[in-house]
Symmetry: C4
Subunit: 212 residues, 4 copies
């Protein structure tokens, strides 16, 4: 229903729609946390039942952080995009398709954390989401197509490099999982926490410049 | 609680509310993806269980694309609408009712893909959503009621023609399903991918005009 | 965390948050539509299984329309409200609590439509939502507290009268249900369709004034 | 994908994204309300089954109010924040992680209200959310880092004091639960209603100043 080369959806609505999907995906993760049916006959048994869900808590925390990271990365990209055309619109929908799929492999690693195929499905979904997000960035920045022409080429290359590095880490974690699924999952957690940590470190470094 | 001929809800809020429904419908689709209960005793068996869900993946991808297409079409229509009156407001709610229903026939084609009634329910829902969206367009453009008076009549007719063509294709797929449900589903997938493809092709055709 | 008499949340965010709840409630209704488990061995049996869900379709359509009506009424009220204070903020949260509860009695009338207590729970929830919404209107308009002082007293009274009439109809439907639950449900459906119909009728009456 | 010390996400989007999570969490609570399967053979039995869900209604109302309170507190904080940096962005995501977790302990207190560990899990989640929200406030206000420099130190201290008081009450309720889980839950309900009540009281006190 739209002409070939322009998008009927502006940047603002695209971001708002994507934000909606992000916030729903991140909140749906809790639906996977369920105590198995059955009567409870002592406080100790209930504590044990709650603690026995630790793989579910692990999946919840890991996927919550990852959706958060993708949300930040998505905003970073759209912060630099000036206008939206139809290819970018559809690349974004395919990206959201990969992202909204994440609760499924999250359930896999929560229920079947001892088996490598769970980790492969999880890592594969992350690779797909990452590659689609990076494809949007490459498409938008090639020849300054949809971005501010003054955008520095270093920044463009730096984002591409980080994205490839993330995919490389995901593939490495999937290979590790062939040997030990638990070690593969640990790689996922450690890598994403390392990614977020600088934020915590900034806390001690940046105050000076912030209030002169 | 509103006077008869005006809408208490402006265009912006109507679009935002509809976007909310779109993003929730598209994200809920993943809830249908569930591994059957039961213990897993080998990596191979888990791979088999994951792959055995292929009809669910098919339903997820197909419905995700279709909701995306409707979202784009909805924005295209509201891009041209200048103001909202009560009839349009209620046509929009009925359209959302058809759209929000889609997860149910999606589950049908995922679970019972070998039987024609699933495809009929799926196609019927798409026809209803399409006809309601087109009714909004016809209502808004008749005599320039709610659109910019300078809107070209060719565009109005073109949108109507595309909408009827879509309904014709849906009906054809439903007829094919009476003979082979799988073939009917294949028609749905192929037609919607063909619809999206120009976007991918634009990629090679439009760069020149975009940065002169 | 807020001072007593002012609201830290402006009108825009309150409406956006409420819209979010409205759109999620309306979309969650489809989750109640589920084909019973079990194998299907013929197209005819599948058709029968799909049709046997008619009470669920009834509940879906009825509650979708009702949430739509409440959404429109909520916007009508906030269209006239100039500013938000803490009491109004909390009345709105209690109203949303009643509205977000609706999927539960919807399931009741879908599963147990032959028994009056389902209809009572459904009607009771609607009464609560209606009375809370009207309490917001009365609170905001008393002495022109939160509305434009030029708001006509006739409009204020008219809205109050419509709200009381709706509660009277709900109570009547609940009384009818004591005699025949099906008749009680029919009253709910008919009354709400009658409420929406003027919108369809406007279609033939208003075009003239819309484009002079 | 972002430079170390600035946030690619502005205050407006951060609030909108958080509002999305708030509205989904608050609406998902109803999914926990389900009548147990099984045939109903009399109106009286259905009434009994509906009433027997009272612990679920209690959990629904309590968590709905608490999410509402956190939503108001979150807006209060962001009302005073002028800009967002990466640490604050990630503190907000961790806060949302605690908040979005709430439906899980809500199910615990609904299903296993007679056992203390349910109350501990519930109170622990509330403490985590509260401490993370307060950490955001302390981080943003320290040395006027992210707030208006003219923000009164009394307000800063007052908010911190209220937050600590809330955590103290949560811990007290958890201790009470060790002796009687029901009493612990009652403390949660009473304390939060007391928190909201001033809003109702304002109703009688503030009209004068509102329209002079």
């Amino acid at each position: 229903m739209a002409e070939p080369s322009t998008s009927p959806v502006g940047r603002g609505r695209l971001e708002a729609f994507s934000d909606g999907v992000f916030s729903i995906v991140i909140t749906l993760l809790v639906l996977d946390l369920r105590l198995p049916e059955g009567d409870v006959d002592s406080a100790g048994y209930l504590v044990w039942k709650i603690l026995a869900l630790w793989p579910q808590y692990f999946g919840y925390v890991l996927s919550f952080l990852i959706v958060g990271i993708f949300w930040v990365a998505h905003h970073f990209i759209f912060h630099h995009i000036r206008r939206v055309d139809r290819p970018l619109l559809w690349m974004n929908i395919f990206f959201l398709m990969a992202l909204a799929f994440l609760p499924f492999p999250t359930t896999l690693i929560s229920r079947h954390w001892a088996w490598a195929p769970s980790v492969w499905a999880y890592g594969g979904t992350l690779c797909a989401a990452n590659l689609l997000l990076n494809a949007m960035w490459r498409y938008a920045t090639r020849g300054g197509r949809l971005v501010d022409p003054s955008l520095s080429p270093e920044l463009v290359r730096d984002v591409n490099r980080r994205s490839l590095r993330a995919v490389a880490v995901y593939v490495a974690a999937m290979l590790v999982a062939a040997w030990s699924p638990r070690a593969g999952l640990a790689v996922f957690l450690i890598v994403h926490i390392l990614y977020i940590l600088p934020a915590a470190l900034d806390r001690h470094w940046t105050p000076k410049e912030n209030h002169p």
